[in-house]
């Protein structure tokens, strides 16, 4: 299974929480026991000392096949099936909208951003993409061809319904 950026972010957050808790929580315990009992925490920096530069890991290949992926749950923002490195996405310019805007979607044959992106928080429709939906990568992420860093126990909603139906039958 391929891991997502979300997975990576999750791992990072977990390690960060672990790192913080291992510093904060055992304040009453003596230093030696902390060293012995604390789990070996590894951050993105690895075990490199703070004053040393670490060799950055090799960047995994970005999935670039332009094939739509299945959504794991109905509300999931679709993942980006192509490379978006070096795409400018800032106050001045939004590269994604070169193909995904209403105007260009036909020529580019790219899925146009859905109508919800043109709605403001009060549900009113705007002529342009709403500012709160402007930064695409807040929700939509590209995919890396890499192994998952942690085990994923996610269960699809269809599977959940099936299970609950089976339980009800019993």
């Amino acid at each position: 299974m391929k891991s997502t950026l979300v997975n990576k972010a999750r791992t990072f957050c977990m390690t960060a929480v672990l790192a913080v808790s291992s510093i904060v929580l055992p304040s009453t315990v003596s230093a030696e026991t902390v060293m012995d009992n604390a789990p070996q925490v590894s951050t993105l920096r690895g075990t490199a000392p703070m004053n040393a530069e670490v060799m950055p890991p090799i960047i995994d290949k970005v999935e670039n096949n332009d094939l739509k992926r299945q959504r794991d749950y109905p509300q999931q923002p679709p993942t980006i099936p192509h490379d978006i490195s070096k795409y400018q996405l800032d106050k001045n310019f939004n590269k994604c909208m070169d193909c995904h805007s209403r105007k260009f979607a036909d020529e580019a044959q790219a899925p146009a951003v859905s109508v919800t992106h043109y709605m403001n928080r009060d549900g009113e429709f705007l002529g342009e993409v709403s500012p709160r939906r402007y930064f695409c990568t807040q929700c939509h992420v590209h995919q890396l061809e890499s192994e998952p860093l942690v085990e994923n126990t996610f269960v699809d909603v269809d599977e959940l319904i099936k299970q609950s139906n089976q339980r009800a039958k019993k």
Binding site: N64, N65, D66, H82, D83, K86, Q88, D90, K91, N92, F93, K95, M97, D98, C99, F104, E107, A108
Partner: protein
């Protein structure tokens, strides 16, 4: 006025007289050598203004476009082949180069009067500066891109599907040129509001 005309006449009589003491051979050879030195010196001086050190010796260029270039593939990449300012901004062809260098005198003016000497001023001029370059590259069919990127050597099978599609159609039939789609690849784009096409590949 009379004095000037008199001086000119005097100069002409000196120049038009055949040499009395110097041999024709000496004059020819020394003229040839002087020509080589002048021509070589001229071109060397012009090449000096084509170096990255020269371009980034002003803070305007060093702090804005050069900083932005450094995060792009034209500066840092896996094989280490890179472009310097003049590779994209100065034509390689000699006569075109001279024309561009003469135009660049306006940039000296800008430097003297501090047209873009702060970040704010640079941002305010960014659209205009960018459009100058887009217009130039559009007019010369992206000549500076093509100095390195040969269309005939493009292997579409090694490109992504979308890239191959665009390159084998719109670029191949001359409908589009590199800059039509590849804007903002070496520097950040200005505020593109109102610039309809953007970097759109269609």
């Amino acid at each position: 006025m009379k004095k000037i005309i008199h001086l000119l006449m005097l100069g002409w009589t000196i120049l038009s007289k055949p040499a009395v003491h110097l041999s024709l051979g000496f004059l020819t050879i020394s003229g040839f050598i002087a020509g080589v030195i002048f021509w070589g010196g001229f071109n060397t001086a012009m090449e000096l203004t084509n170096t990255e050190e020269f371009c980034t010796s002003c803070h305007e260029m060093r702090d804005n476009p050069f900083m932005e270039l450094q995060t792009t593939i034209h500066y840092s990449n896996r094989s280490g082949v890179r472009a310097i300012c003049s590779d994209c901004h100065v034509p390689h062809n000699w006569s075109d180069k001279i024309a561009r260098k003469m135009q660049a005198s306006k940039e000296v003016w800008g430097k003297l009067f501090g047209t873009i000497d702060t970040r704010e001023k640079f941002e305010a001029h960014r659209l205009q500066l960018a459009q100058n370059e887009w217009t130039r590259l559009k007019a010369n069919d992206s000549l500076e891109c093509r100095n390195c990127h040969q269309f005939d050597s493009m292997d579409f099978t090694r490109q992504s599907k979308r890239a191959a599609k665009q390159h084998s159609s719109a670029l191949a039939n001359g409908e589009k040129t590199c800059i039509d789609c590849h804007k903002g690849i070496a520097h950040k784009l200005p505020n593109m509001e109102g610039v309809r096409e953007g970097t759109s590949p269609h």
